[in-house]
Every structure is written in C-alpha cells, then in structure tokens.
Amino acid sequence: MQKFKSNQKLYIGAFITGIMLLLALTGTVFTPYDPNAMDTTAKFGSISLKHIMGCDNFGRDIFSRVLAGLSTTMSVAMGTVLIGIFFGTLIGAFTGYFGGMPDEILMRINDAVLAFPSLLLALVFISIMGPGKFNVTIALGILFIPGFARIMRGEFLRCKNLDYVQSARLMGASDLRIMFVHILPNTLQVMLSTVAIGFNNAVLAEAGMSFLGIGVQPPDSSLGRMLSEAQTYLFIKPGYAIVTGMTIALLILGFAMLSEGLEKNA
C-alpha cells in the first residue's frame, strides 16, 4: 500500500516534469511567434486562437514567451544543479572519506558560506561579474556547492566503514576506486532526490533574481522576469501574472513530487 502511494507521487511528478521538459525543449527550437517581436496593434491583446495566452504590454505573444522563458529558466536551473552536484560530490567525497584536518577546514568554510543568505551572496557575485544568463548560472552554481557537499559528505561518512568498503579495501582497491566505483553508486538514491530539490531551489532562485532585475536581461524572457513585468500590469491584465506564476508553480510541483516519490521509493 505504502509502495503504491509513493509510486503515485512519482508517476504524477514524472508526468508533470516530462510535460514541462517537453515544452522547454520545444521553446528552444520553435515558438509560434518570435518571443521578442513587438506589435503595437496587439498591446494587451486578449486570449484568442492566434494568441492562446494573449499578449503583454509590448504586444508580444505571451505563450511564445512562456515557452522561451521556460527553456531559459530550466537551462539556468540545470546548469546550476550540475555545477553544484559535481563540485559538491567531489568535496563531499574527499572530506567524508578521508576526514581529518582538510575535512575540518573545508567544512568550516562550507558553514561560513551557508551562514550567508544565498540571495545576498548571489547579489555580490552578480555585482562583481555583471548580470546575464551565464553569470547567474555560475553564481547560483557556486552557491549550491556547500549544500550538496554537506549531504554527500554525510553519505560517504556513512558508507566508508560498511562491510563492502572494508572488503574492497582488503582486496587492495585504491582509495579513489573505492570512493567513485564502490561508494558513489550507493549514494545515488540520496543524490537523485537532492538534485530534484536542488533543481526546485535553482528555479526559484533564478526567478527571484530575474524578478529583481539582476538575472536574465530584457528583452530575453525568463519566468521570473515575466512575473516581474506582469506585476506592473496586475490590474489591467491579471492573466499575464497568473499564466507565468502557474507555470513556475507547476514546474516546482512536478519536481517536488518527483523527489518525494524518489525518496519514498528508496
């Protein structure tokens, strides 16, 4: 029974995420209109067959912008998570497996970074490197490293004295081999759900930064930027904010359910 329930979450999550991924992929190659093309006659155009989500304050097709924005947001989030999990796993593996002084030092640095509000740190990075999609990905990626590192360190700490590791060591396997061939696959379960949660946080962080105007630069669309623009026209065109907000909500919901499903499936 328990198994079935968790699977249900997994399936729904996978379904929503799948659709979102599909839409985002579509957004990179095809949109019904040029997402940046403006049209005076279509300013605040309402929902019609031509524009299924209506038009924004510049007469741009909102559906095209949602598609393009979705792919921007998702690519930023994926880049962020990739950077975070790659370096996080490396740091976590070495500190967790070897321990000792380097572990102490790295983990205290980790604590120091975690002690800052992440948005504040991101702001500092952006003010040094300048805004833009690429820089945002790097800044957020760096910020995600400590969190991942801590979780992966815990996993390596847990595994390093287990029997199979001991026997591998007795057979003369090198430390690196034990770390990445023997232990790493056993942390996959935790890693996957961490990645799913991390992905959610990355989507929200990108949306937040673009909302504040330091993320993706106009006229390029991202879900956060669109929400920020829609806010100005909340009374005139509430649909704009609703459509954009819903897309973010669905994206998050899909991944949240997916990660929960993965966790329970363990």
């Binding site: 940046n36 093309a37 403006m38 005076t40 300013k43 304050n57 510049f58 007469g59 003010s127 300048g130 805004p131 833009g132 105007g213 330091i214 630069q217 106009p218 006229p219 100005t232 026209y233 009374f235 005139i236």
Partner: protein, 502 residues
C-alpha cells in the same frame, strides 16, 4: 498558561487595531492636503545643501530666493522687489521688498541676504551647489534695502541661478538650518519624522498670495504603494505617475497631464567605436521609431523631440527638428554599409534598473535596431553603478536616460556638449559647436543668444550626437476635492497654488 497567552494576544490585537486607527487621517478635515513623495529628505533641510531634486521640490514651498521661477519659466521677483544690471554687466543691484518676514517673525534684512548669498556661493567655506556662483566676486550692502552683487565675469544667466532653491534667502541668526528650516516661503516647516513625513503649515505673514490650504503633509511612500494609497485615501496627490499606473487608478481623481521636462534619449558615447562615425549615429536615428516607442512603452503619451531641448523652453525649442530623422530602414542600412558595417554590429545599452520607463524604452529600441542589423543587448545596472560608471566614469557604449535642466537656462542643457565640459558624459566633440558655445557665453543680447542656442541645437541634431526620443509625459493624480495644480518647467511642487474646490 494557554489562557494567559490568549489574553495577551487579545490585548495585543486590540491595541494593534486601536492604535492603527490613530495613524489614519480624520475624515472631513478639508483644510489639509497630503502629498505623496517617493523619497525622504535625507541630504539636508538647509537649501544650500539640498542636492537631491526630490528634496528641492519640497523645500520650494519653504524657501525663496531673491527671485523665483513662475510656471511659464519666467523669473518673477520674490524677496527682491526688482533688480538692475550695471551697463558693463558686472554688477547686479537687488532692491529688497519691504515687509518680507521670515517664518520666525523677524524681517528680512540686507545682512541676511548678504549672508545667504555668500553661504550659497561657498564664500563662507562650505561647498557651493551652484557652480556658476563661483563667479561671484563680492556681495556688498549698499543700504538697508539694497544689495549689490559683483561678478568676476559677465553672466546673463545670473538671475536664473539666483532664483534656484539652492540660492534661497535664510536668516543669519538661524544656526540650525539643517534641522530647523526657516525661510520666507508660503509654507513654514513644523516637523519631520524620518522615513515617514514632513509637516508644514501655511505662513500667515507671507508677503504674496497666501497659501489656500492650512495644513500640508509630505508623506514618504514607496513607488509601488503610491497607487494603493491614493485609492485608499491616505494621500491626496502625488507627482510623476506613469500612464500605466494612471490606468489602474479609476475614478475619484483629477488627472493633470504635463511633461517631465527631461530629454530622454539613447545617449551614445561619441568616442567609442562605432559611434564615433556620424553615419552610424544617423543610421540609428533613422532606425528608431519614436511613435512606436511611445505607443508600446508609454501608452501613446509623451512628446517626441529632435535635439537637446524640451518643449517647455518655448523660446529655445525647435519643433522642426522633431522629424529630422523619419523612420527609414533602407536609408539606415545604406548609411551603415557606407560606414563599413553592412551587417550591422553588436552593442550594449546600459540602463539603470530602477527606472522602468527607460528599461522599457531600451527593450523597444533593441527590437527596432534589430531591423537594420544592429544587435543590441541590455545591461541593467543599479543606479549608483550607473552614476559612477556611465555618468562620471564614461565607461559605456550607450545608455537610455532622461537629462533635466538644473536651472531655467538653455545653458543647463546645452553646456554639457562643450568638448571639455565636466558633465559631457557622451564625449561629444565638435569644434564648431565649441565656437558657438563660447560665443553664446559672451553674447549679452538675448535674441542673438537664442539664435546661437538654436544653431547649437541644429548642430546636435545634424551630427546625430544622440538618438533623441522624447520629453516624457507625467501625470499628477489629485483628489477631486482639490484644484489648481500647476506645472513648472523645473522639478518643483508648488502646493501654495492648490485650492479646495468650492
């Protein structure tokens, strides 16, 4: 334990509601007006130290200079009744008006005027905010009602500077003008709560037409909540609201439409490639469709301009320049090809992110420039970064911003294109322009000067120094109870002219 907690919570809740009610305005208090302003007066209440335009627009109600501007952009006498210029143009004799009193009841003396002018000119050791006042050689008291100002060099614009808020007359006896402002204006200062409000009261002994509304409160509100507060009734009016915000306001307000008196343009760094080529700049002008910008980003409001001058300066404004560069994509492409960029080029538009109208304009520009092959990207920066990097540091390719006039002179707008001017942030340089400008500084005859200014404007347009866009429209929503809002060609709010409708 739980009961006690509940009790405490109930008391707190009641208090919150009851005390919250205290902050609200009593209904029916008709002789009071609350004006919403977007920022606190943090620089100084001393008129000679007020750097922010937002501070000066409030202090305009408290202080007056020897002269003051009127709504048409002319100078009218204030503390001085009249003034005479010596034949050589070096000495200005101001004759003081009789019976002008400060808010503390003491009469204005020649001694106060000398003190104020010297203080605002930086002769007492403080920094001056009016660069042109460094031209004052000495201030002499001739008699109880006459003061002579002697200049080092001729300057026909001197009276315009003397009418600025930064040159206000204040009492010599007041040593705490930073926190306790005393002036001669129609409203006198009562109190200030930081980040909350500034309260004023009409001055009964004012020499001119007294303010109609007794109590005045400037309330500090963040830009986003201004519309909500207007709707909710906690403020009666506020200035510089965008057309989009107005559309959300609904009934119950009189909307006054004016202009911001800004020259909004895509300012180009004339020293940086490819903008050092006049053909490139002209091509960009041909590529820009001002009307489309107005329609898309400004709900169709705003007046297109063609040079560094806005329509409120009627005498100097040249409407014929508005259509100097009609939209012509083919011509733009040809000019670009001639300049060696047949496929266009990449460029960056730096925009301060706190000014949404400028960001929106930049977005439309990106699309328009794309049509002639120019690939522009927007770089949003914080206001302080913009000031240091773009305005002061001149490290930019192009920027969308509005430039205002700090005083009622054409010089305030055109002076910045003189090659070696400190504020020439676009690095414009044209020997012909420099010659015209130097000549204008020397010319005393008003008609001749106007002619020179017009030649300078034409030159800026022909050189396509920048892609001139518009003087932005501003809207002032005011509660229907009131009437008499007056627009000035300067950044001020004149509350004394507002009346309650009969």
């Amino acid at each position: 334990m739980r009961k006690r907690l509940l009790l405490i919570l109930t008391v707190l809740l009641t208090l919150t509601i009851a005390l919250g009610g205290c902050s609200g305005r009593k209904a029916g208090d008709s002789s009071k007006i609350v004006v919403g302003i977007p920022q606190d007066l943090e620089d100084s209440l001393d008129p000679h130290k007020a750097t922010a335009a937002g501070t000066r627009e409030v202090l305009f109600n408290v202080y007056e200079g020897l002269l003051k501007p009127d709504e048409n952009g002319d100078l009218i006498p204030a503390v001085a009744k009249e003034y005479e210029v010596s034949d050589d143009g070096f000495t200005y004799k101001f004759i003081l008006r009789e019976g002008v009193k400060f808010h503390d009841g003491t009469p204005v003396t020649a001694e106060d005027v000398k003190y104020s002018l010297e203080k605002s000119a930086g002769m007492t050791g403080e920094e001056t905010l009016i660069a042109a006042f460094s031209n004052i050689k000495e201030v002499n008291i001739v008699s109880d009602s006459e003061v002579d100002v002697v200049l080092k060099e001729n300057d026909v614009d001197f009276p315009a500077y003397a009418a600025s808020v930064n040159a206000s007359i204040i009492p010599k006896a007041n040593t705490a003008s930073d926190t306790n402002p005393i002036g001669t204006g129609p409203y006198k200062y009562v109190s200030r709560s930081p980040q909350e409000n500034i309260i004023m009261e009409s001055f009964d002994d004012y020499w001119g037409e007294k303010a109609s509304i007794k109590n005045l409160e400037f309330k500090i509100e963040s830009g986003d909540s201004m519309i909500m507060d207007l709707k909710g009734g906690s403020i009666d009016m506020c200035a510089r609201i965008s057309a989009t915000q107005i559309a959300q306001l609904g009934d119950g307000f009189d909307i006054h439409e004016g202009s911001m008196n800004l020259v909004q343009a895509l300012y180009l760094n004339n020293k940086v490639k490819p903008f050092d080529d006049v053909r490139v700049r002209q091509a960009m002008c041909y590529a820009t469709d001002t009307q489309e910008i107005l329609d898309l980003a400004f709900e169709g409001y705003g007046s297109p301009i063609g040079s560094q001058m806005f329509p409120s300066f009627g005498k100097y404004y040249m409407p014929e320049l508005e259509n100097k560069y009609p939209v012509d994509v083919e011509k733009a492409k040809k000019l670009l090809a001639d300049a060696g960029y047949p496929d266009g080029f990449d460029m960056t538009i730096t925009v301060p992110s706190n000014y949404i109208p400028h960001v929106d304009t930049a977005q439309v520009l990106v699309e328009q420039l794309k049509k002639v092959g120019i690939k522009a990207t927007i770089d949003q920066v914080e206001w302080n970064t913009w000031l240091s990097d773009v305005y002061t540091g001149r490290k930019f390719e192009s920027t969308v911003i509005g430039v205002d006039a700090s005083s009622l002179t054409a010089d305030a707008l055109l002076g910045r294109f003189y090659s070696s001017a400190d504020n020439n942030f676009t690095n414009y340089s044209n020997p012909e322009y420099d010659k015209l400008y130097e000549e204008s500084r020397k010319t005393l005859d008003d008609d001749k000067r106007t002619e020179l200014y017009k030649q300078m404007e034409t030159l800026l347009a022909e050189d396509a120094a920048n892609v001139y866009i518009q003087d932005m429209a501003e809207f002032v929503p005011m509660n229907k109870k009131f009437e008499g809002y007056t627009f000035y060609p300067l950044y001020v709010q004149d509350i004394a002219k507002i009346k309650i409708k009969e």
